[in-house]
Amino acid sequence: MELTVLVFLPAFAGLLALLLPADRARYARWVALAGALAALGLSLALFFRFENGGGFQFADRASWIDAGAFEVQYFLAVDGLSLPLVVLTTFLTVAAVLVSFSIEHRQRAYFACLMVLSTSVLGVFTAMDFLLFFLFWELELFPMYLLISVWGSGRREYSAMKFVLYTVAGSAFMLVAILALALGAGTFDMAVLGQSGVESAVLPLRWVFLFLFIGFAVKLPIVPLHTWLPDAHGDAPTAVSVMLAGVLLKMGGYAIIRTCVTILPGEARDYGVWFAAIGAASVLYGAFVTFRQTDVKRLIAYSSVSHMGLVLLGIGALGTTAMVGAAYQMLAHGLITGLLFVVVGLMYERTHTREISRLGGLARQMPLLAAGLAFAGFASVGLPALAGFVAEVTIFLGAFQAYEWAVIMAIFGVVLSAGYILWTLQRVVFGPVRPEWAGAGDQRHWWEHASVAGLAALVILLGVYPDLIMDMLDPAIGAVSARVGS
């Protein structure tokens, strides 16, 4: 019951916010915050009650469509891989609500969309029936489309449409693969599929694998399926960028581990080398493109392409250590990039520009935000004692055995990241002070302090105490890599 409550709590809060009378619209943010905090509390309770190594827990299961030949269930459960991602989602939802406190336009609808988005992501991470999973996966499109096209900026309709079309195109492949798998195996139950494996399907298994991968790779994203990301990020409101970079991209990495690798381990063995190659290529490609970006948000978006390449590299190595590193990188990147977008968003609210060339010297006028950007930047570079470093090193160590060349390529991406981040810091927060931002003001509202400080604290916590998460990831991923046989 807990998981069902957790998953639908945000959407319920969103519905309440939507139903507020028009003259009470300004309370929508409080309703959303209450819902987000309740979900966070509930997810933390599950986190601390979770038994490490105990497989899938807190299962909610009911028969939904019984068609004789196959049965679709309503089946939610979490294991050591999904639970940290669930907590990440609830945490970032709180942060996203907080940074949206200054939203003025159509508040009720805005918070309703944001909270439904949260529910759909939580659903993806907890659904253990493949069709239910797909349903949640698609559900996320509606709020995202509205959030970008209504509350976005710039070419927002174009970006929103591009995001939707990209995902739908990927989903088409995914749906074919899901149906092929389930009809072959006679069940949509992902736990069963993941345990027994699949011997045959309506389609050749490597097609199924490839189709699933295409669906997930769009979300991750990998080069060359990534160009929706900078547009979506560039034009989305801050909170949506936080959710997009923080958790939506992770749906791709999570799904690859949960389905491609777990259900089709044989194919994963065959194609692991491609994962590593595409991952390493994404790291370098993303880093080089990042250098030329002139818009801060697009710059962070491209750096995400680079950092998510590491996730694919870690998964491709298929060993426990490397895949734990990949999962850890998803969490670390979620927090760090979330923080980057929060800070950049707050800067944008004050300067109304994201053009790097128009910024500069902000360390004088906005010392707190500048410090936040520098902190998040260094975290993104992989500075030790912060979350990203633990993830990167774990991936490098784990993948080195299998793909020495890919790891060395990826490590060079680390130098490039130092280059583009420090260059950005130089142009945005350092350098001559610009008079036009004199009255712009610094981070000052409690909700701004809370979201920045909360994210930064977690980045440090995961950097110095990795066992908090590692102990949970390790048995879950260990079971996956045991299936692959490495």
């Binding site: 490609y285 080089f288 010297g361 080195f400 060395i408 490590i411 130089q426 002070v433």
Partner: protein, 629 residues
């Protein structure tokens, strides 16, 4: 106490947190906290030392570790290891950090972000101590990056100045290129030995479990990290630019401690380097080339701090030459003495810069001897120690290096390192003469005033160390201080070496000193520049080349602008036009156009549809007939 030496790093770490959180609101912006932390670090070092020595040689190294994380069957412990090399490093770091913190109180007075400066200084000290205490390479790497971060923040302290930010960025990225090598090297060693623990790696190598080309390659990667941090050719470019930071920072980080981290790393892993084929030959070669190269470049530098910076690069080269000869005591000994006299010279330069109202070009200085007597005397002591005057500290350590090279590397290397020694004496004398002798060449320098006690105090203290620190080479001195013997009997690789002075070598060393000093003395006699100007006029191209540092910086700038940024321009062009506009938007446009064309089929008129159906049926019949027949 020695097993709790981590406290040494914890104290400045706490001071950092306190200053970062509260510094601005504390009285005096909390500078007393910084000095207090540094003083307690200095005091605690002696407690660690006493506890360490009290255990006796059999109980070394002192170890203390906890399990940090475990993933699968991969376990990672984090801990500290205190051995003789660590003790030397702790002595250097705590002493110089103490002096620099005291000096900064006077030097940084009234500067912007005073509290933040002290906060980051404490962060640096904590990270540096962690670096030398780490018992495994991964923790060392963590600290290695953290000192890089503190260095970045301190070089860029005056971030309103573009040059400062550029320098900070350059330092971080240049060393990071080396760090990538270090990380790859660490992973390779881990793959070969199954551990990050430094002692275990050394044992595995000594037991012959790893070796051959694989070991050589891993060691070379590790050495890349050492070269980056210790500014060896071709990574040296960041260090002179790092002089953009406040001068006390240059003394602490960019002379005495962080830049010797590479030397420390090689000394720490010397048994591994020894077992790795020709690795030590590479170390010698890199050190020698760097020592000579920066000795030459230092001639033509006109900024007092840049001369000292190139001097530091050169002296680090000396240390690598000694380590390359396989003599850890000589390398570590020079690291030890150099820390004191080079910190002294940098703080002296800071005193000059403050006293002479921010003039730091030697062309504008001169004649400060009378106006700043304490600074001048201290600077003289530091210069003579650096140049190698008997019996100051630098003499003994340089003597040890010459001895090591003579014994292990042969005549050619000996001749070249001697040449580098002459250069050292030469540029040091030049710097001293141009700064302190003759007449002031600038009105501000003419009004220079001696600096206050918080600055002259550390100068005097370090001057005393620069005179006497070298004597610990003698067994009797070491025993009197509680050590098992002289420096060579405390820090050694295979067996302790008792020091006996070799008068012949001492004579050579003194001759090198005399040549260098008199050469510069003749050229710049009485602080006059006419002979030097004549020399420049005689070979203008050579002078220009030296002044421009042999175009290394220009080459790198070209590589970054044209190659890295050029390549990223190509990639992002491809991303925009080929992937996005053609591939993605193109397919959307194509779909839209196809829809535009096909919509004409939907006319809505029944006869059209009927015709189409008839044509379809006819076609199907034809196909069926063709297939059947």
């Amino acid at each position: 106490m020695a097993e709790h030496a981590w406290i040494l790093a914890a104290v400045p770490a706490i001071a950092f947190l306190a200053l970062a959180a509260l510094g601005r609101r504390l009285p005096r912006q909390g500078d007393f906290l910084a000095v207090l932390a540094a003083a307690s670090g200095f005091g605690l070092f002696f407690a660690v030392l006493a506890s360490f020595l009290g255990r006796g040689e059999g109980a070394w190294p002192v170890l203390n570790a906890i399990e940090w994380t475990a993933i699968g069957d991969f376990r990672l412990n984090m801990g500290i290891a205190v051995d003789q090399i660590t003790i030397v490093m702790l002595a250097v770091v705590t002493t110089v950090a103490f002096m620099v913190n005291v000096f900064s109180v006077g030097y940084m007075k009234g500067e912007p972000r005073y509290w933040w400066y002290f906060a980051v200084l404490q962060l640096f000290v904590a990270s540096m101590l962690l670096l030398v205490l780490a018992d495994n390479l991964l923790l060392l790497y963590v600290a290695w990056e953290l000192v890089g971060l503190s260095s970045f923040l301190l070089i860029g302290h005056y971030w309103e100045r573009r040059s400062a930010v550029e320098a900070a960025k350059k330092a971080f990225i240049t060393t990071r290129v080396g760090d990538v090598g270090l990380l790859i090297g660490i992973i390779l060693l881990w793959k070969a030995t199954g551990t990050f623990n430094i002692l275990d790696i050394i044992h595995a190598v000594e037991a012959g479990e790893v070796g051959g080309t694989g070991l050589f390659v891993s060691v070379m990667f590790i050495f890349l990290g050492a070269m980056g941090k210790s500014a060896q050719l071709p990574f040296h470019v960041w260090l002179p630019d790092a002089m953009e930071g406040p001068t006390p920072v240059s003394a602490l980080i960019h002379a005495a401690t962080m830049v010797v981290a590479g030397v420390y790393l090689v000394a720490r892993l010397l048994p591994v380097f020894e077992a790795a084929g020709d690795a030590l030959l590479v170390v010698t070669a890199v050190g020698l080339i760097t020592a000579l190269f920066s000795g030459v470049v230092a001639f033509a530098q006109t900024d007092i701090k840049k001369v000292l910076a190139y001097s530091t690069v050169s002296q680090l080269g000396f240390m690598f030459v000694a380590l390359g000869a396989g003599v850890v005591s000589a390398g570590m000994f020079h690291l030890f003495t150099h820390a004191f006299f080079k910190a002294l010279l940098f703080l002296g330069a800071g005193s000059v810069i403050l006293g002479a109202h921010h003039r730091q070009e030697v062309g504008q200085l001169g004649g400060l001897w009378r106006r700043m007597p304490v600074t001048a005397a201290a600077f003289l002591v530091g210069s003579l120690a650096l140049a190698g005057l008997f019996p100051l500290a630098g003499f003994w350590s340089k003597d040890e290096i010459l001895h090591a090279v003579e014994g292990h590397r042969g005549a050619l290397v000996f001749a070249l390192i001697s040449l580098a020694s002459i250069m050292t004496a030469f540029y040091t004398t030049r710097l001293f003469i141009l700064t302190f002798l003759g007449k002031p060449r600038d009105a501000e320098a003419g009004h220079a005033r001696e600096t206050g006690a918080s600055m002259t105090g550390p100068l005097v203290f370090l001057a005393v160390l620069s005179v006497f620190a070298g004597f610990v080479v003698y067994g009797g001195v070491g025993e009197a201080l509680g050590f098992p013997g002289g420096f060579g009997e405390f820090v050694y690789l295979h067996h302790p070496e008792t020091f006996h002075i070799d008068w012949g070598l001492a004579g050579v060393s003194t001759a090198l000193f005399v040549i260098g000093v008199f050469g510069a003395g003749w050229l710049y006699r009485g602080g006059r520049l006419d002979r030097a100007a004549a020399l420049t006029a005689w070979q203008p191209k050579l002078y220009e080349m030296t002044r421009r540092k042999f175009y290394f910086d220009d080459l790198y700038q070209f590589l970054i602008d044209r190659v890295v940024l050029g390549f990223s321009y190509v990639v992002s062009w491809f991303d925009r036009f080929a992937v996005n506009d053609t591939g993605v938007d193109g397919s959307a446009t194509l779909t839209g156009y196809a829809g535009f064309l096909l919509k004409h089929l939907q006319t809505g008129r029944v006869p059209n549809y009927a015709l189409a159906i008839a044509a379809g049926v006819a076609a199907l019949i034809l196909v069926a007939l063709a297939a059947g027949g």
